[in-house]
C-alpha cells in the first residue's frame, strides 16, 4: 500500500504522452516521423546548422521558431572556434535525449525530480581522423555518461530511471547501433556557362 498521494511535478505532460502512445498504436502511419536539418558552410571549418520543419502525425510540422547552431573546431586544430565541435553536439544530443527520458519516466513513476545533472566524456584517438593509423577508428572509443540526480527516490529507483531512459532513447540507439547512412551529391547549376565565352 502506498500512502503517498502527492503527484510529482516535473513539467512532463504524461496524460498527453500516454494518449499519444495509445493513439499511435492504433494509427501506426501517424507514428512515421522524418527529422530534418540543413547545414551551410560559412568559412574554414565553420558551418551553421538549422532545424525548423519536420514531418510527423501525418503532416508537415514546424518548430516554434527556427533553431541555429554554429559548428566549428577549436583553435588547436588551427580553426577559429566559432562553435562547438560536431562530436560535442553528439554528446549534447545524447544527454538531451537521455535527460528528457529521465524526466518522462520519473513523471510516469510519480518521482519528484529536484536536479538532474549529466556529465559526458568520450575518449577519441584522433590518429583515426588524421589518417595516421588505419586501425584506429574515426569515432569515439566509448562514451561515458554520469548522472547525478536529486529526487524523492531510492538509489535503485534512480538507477532504474536512467536504465529505462536508455532503453527508450532514440539517440542512445543511434550511437549504439549501426544506421544505414546515404550521402548523395549534386553540382549546383550556375546557368549555361561557357558557350558565350568561345
Amino acid at each position: 500500500m502506498t500512502t503517498q498521494t502527492r503527484t510529482a511535478e516535473n513539467g512532463v505532460n504524461v496524460t498527453a504522452l500516454l494518449g499519444a502512445r495509445e493513439a499511435l498504436s492504433r494509427a501506426p502511419e501517424a507514428a512515421r516521423f522524418k527529422w530534418r536539418a540543413s547545414s551551410k558552410w560559412l568559412r574554414g571549418t565553420h558551418s551553421r546548422g538549422t532545424v525548423e520543419g519536420f514531418f510527423g502525425l501525418g503532416g508537415e510540422q514546424i518548430h516554434r521558431s527556427p533553431y541555429q547552431f554554429d559548428l566549428d573546431h577549436p583553435e588547436i586544430f588551427a580553426s577559429e572556434d566559432n562553435g562547438a565541435t560536431p562530436v560535442e553536439f553528439v554528446l549534447v544530443a545524447l544527454a538531451g535525449c537521455l535527460t528528457a527520458g529521465v524526466a518522462a519516466v520519473a513523471q510516469m513513476r510519480n518521482i519528484q525530480l529536484r536536479s538532474v545533472q549529466a556529465t559526458l566524456e568520450a575518449p577519441m584517438d584522433i590518429q583515426g581522423i588524421l589518417g595516421i593509423d588505419p586501425d584506429v577508428r574515426n569515432g569515439f572509443d566509448r562514451i561515458k555518461v554520469h548522472y547525478e540526480i536529486d529526487a524523492d527516490a531510492s538509489e535503485e529507483e534512480i538507477a532504474a530511471l536512467v536504465a529505462q531512459s536508455q532503453k527508450r532513447s532514440a539517440v542512445f540507439d543511434v550511437v549504439t547501433n549501426p544506421t544505414d547512412v546515404a550521402v548523395t551529391t549534386s553540382k549546383v547549376d550556375r546557368g549555361a556557362p561557357g558557350e558565350l565565352e568561345c
Partner: protein
C-alpha cells in the same frame, strides 16, 4: 491410442501435448464428445524438436496436469524423454481419445462449424481447440540472410548436441533460457562461444534455500492474470528466464563469463561478413539486474507479510552482471566463426488455419484464449490468461476456464440450431472478468 474414422464430432482438439491432453481431461469430465488429433505421437515436439540435454525449467513437483503428478523425484527436473513418458502415461490414465498420425492440413469455417481436413480424411466439429503450442517454427531474424554462405547456421529447433557442430567458434544469438543453456554446453564441448545478448531475464536457480519457481508460485506471481498487466502485449513478449534444469545451478551471464564464454551485445546487423553488436550491453545487463532485485524484493516482502520463516535462509543479493570494458562491437564471421546458432525464439504456425483470425504479423486474434471466431479456442501461448499459462502446470486452470466457455458455446449453438436467437459470437463478451489484483503491493 484411438482408431477412429474421420467424421462428425462436437469438439476437436488439435495437438496431443500437455495442453491438448489437459483440455481432453476437462472435456471428458464434462462428458463432451471429442477427439485429440495428433500429427505424429503424443508429445511429438518434445520427442523430435528439442536438444538432447534439455531439461524442464520447473522442478518435478510443479510439473502436474489435471488429476496427475510426477511419481518420481520431486525436486529433479524432467528430461524431454521423461516428459514424453509422463504425457503418455497421462493420456493412458485418461483414456484420452487421441487420434495419432493424423496431420491437420487445413481448417475452414462455415455455418455448420469447422471442417478439419487431415492426412486421414475430413473431420467436422462445432468447436475447435488449438493446442499446437507457440513453438512450431524457428523465429530467425531477417539479418540472418547476411551470414556468409560458408558459415554453418542452425536454429535451436534443429540443434541436438555439440557433435553436430564443426569444431571452432560458435556465435549464439539470443540470451534467454535456450541461448544460455546452449552456450554452456557448447563451451564445455571445447567450442569457444560468443553469446550475443539483448534484453534478458536474470534469475537464480535457488533463492534463500528454495527453488526460484517455489517463490514464483508461493508469492502468487505465477497466478497473476494478464488483465492485471498494464501492458499485456509486452508481458506476453517477455523472454524465458535464464534458467537451466540442474539442481542448485544458476546459469547467468556471470557463470558463463567465468566459464570463458564471450558476452557481447545484441546482434544488430551483418555487413560485409561482419556481425555488429549493440553498444547497449551494459544497459541491458543493468536492466536485468534491477529487475532481478525487484523480483527478490517482491519475494522478501511476501515472506515478511506472511510472517513465517518456513526454514528459509537469510536474505541474499547477487553480484551485478560483469561487463567487459572491452566487449567487442563486431566480429568477422568469415575469419572467426564456424557456426551461427540462432536461439532467437519460436513462432506458432497457423498456415493451415484458413479462418480469418490471424493478423498481419501471423498472430492469432484472441481474448485470453477465446479466438475471434465462434467456438474457436487456443491454449498454451505465453501468458495466455495467467503468467503460468505456458508452464505445464498452467494448462489446468486455462483448460478449465476455456472448457467452461466452450461448454456454454455448445449449449448456445444447440439452442441456435433449434431456432433461438443466441448468436455464438455474443458469448465472447460473456467471458468472466476477474477483478484486478496486484501482487506484492
Amino acid at each position: 491410442m484411438l482408431k477412429r474414422m474421420a467424421g462428425y464430432i462436437d469438439v476437436i482438439v488439435i495437438g496431443a501435448g500437455h495442453c491438448g491432453l489437459a483440455m481432453s481431461a476437462v472435456l471428458s469430465e464434462r462428458g463432451i464428445d471429442h477427439v485429440v488429433l495428433e500429427r505424429s505421437e503424443i508429445a511429438n515436439t518434445w520427442r523430435t524438436e528439442r536438444w538432447d540435454s534439455l531439461r524442464l525449467l520447473t522442478p518435478n513437483w510443479l510439473t502436474r496436469l489435471p488429476g496427475y503428478s510426477y511419481p518420481g523425484d520431486a525436486d529433479g527436473y524432467m528430461t524431454s524423454a521423461d516428459l514424453c513418458g509422463f504425457l503418455e502415461n497421462y493420456a493412458k490414465s485418461l483414456a484420452a481419445p487421441v487420434v495419432a498420425h493424423t496431420a491437420v492440413l487445413r481448417v475452414t469455417h462455415d455455418d455448420d462449424g469447422y471442417r478439419v481436413a487431415t492426412s486421414q480424411g475430413e473431420w467436422r466439429c462445432r468447436a475447435l481447440v488449438l493446442a499446437t503450442g507457440a513453438f512450431n517454427q524457428p523465429d530467425t531474424p531477417r539479418i540472418a540472410q547476411g551470414v556468409p554462405g560458408r558459415i554453418e547456421q542452425l536454429h535451436a529447433l534443429n540443434y541436438r548436441n555439440p557433435e553436430q557442430l564443426a569444431p571452432g567458434r560458435v556465435l549464439i544469438v539470443g540470451g534467454s533460457a535456450t541461448g544460455v543453456q546452449l552456450a554452456h554446453e557448447l563451451q564445455r564441448s571445447g567450442r569457444p562461444v560468443t553469446l550475443a545478448v539483448g534484453e534478458h531475464v536474470r534469475m537464480p536457480r535457488v533463492y534463500r534455500g528454495r527453488d526460484v519457481q517455489w517463490w514464483m508460485l508461493a508469492s502468487g506471481l505465477l497466478e497473476r492474470r494478464i488483465e492485471e498487466e498494464e501492458d499485456p502485449d509486452r508481458a506476453r513478449r517477455v523472454p524465458s528466464p535464464q534458467l537451466t534444469g540442474s539442481p542448485g545451478f544458476t546459469l547467468d551471464l556471470n557463470a558463463l563469463r567465468e566459464q570463458g564464454v564471450e558476452i557481447v551485445g545484441r546482434l544488430v546487423g551483418i555487413r560485409d561478413g561482419k556481425a555488429q553488436f549493440s553498444g547497449s550491453l551494459r544497459n541491458t545487463c543493468t536492466l536485468a539486474d534491477l529487475k532481478l532485485n525487484r523480483l527478490l524484493n517482491t519475494f522478501d516482502e511476501w515472506l515478511e507479510h506472511r510472517g513465517r520463516s518456513l526454514g528459509i535462509t537469510a536474505r541474499e543479493r547477487f553480484a551485478p552482471t560483469a561487463v567487459d570494458e572491452t566487449a567487442r562491437l563486431g566480429i568477422d564471421l568469415r575469419e572467426d566463426v564456424r557456426t551461427v546458432l540462432w536461439a532467437t525464439g519460436y513462432r506458432p504456425d497457423y498456415s493451415w488455419l484458413k479462418v480469418p483470425v490471424v493478423n498481419a504479423k501471423g498472430e492469432l486474434r484472441h481474448d485470453r484464449g477465446v479466438v475471434a471466431a465462434p467456438g474457436l479456442y487456443v491454449l498454451g501461448l505465453p501468458y495466455l490468461r495467467r503468467r503460468k499459462s505456458s508452464f505445464i502446470h498452467g494448462a489446468e486452470d486455462d483448460a478449465r476456464e476455456l472448457g467452461a466457455h466452450l461448454m456454454q458455446f455448445l449449449d448456445g449453438s444447440e439452442r441456435g440450431r433449434s431456432g433461438s436467437s443466441v448468436a455464438p459470437r455474443s458469448l465472447q463478451s460473456s467471458l468472466p472478468l476477474t477483478p484486478v489484483r496486484r501482487v506484492g503491493t
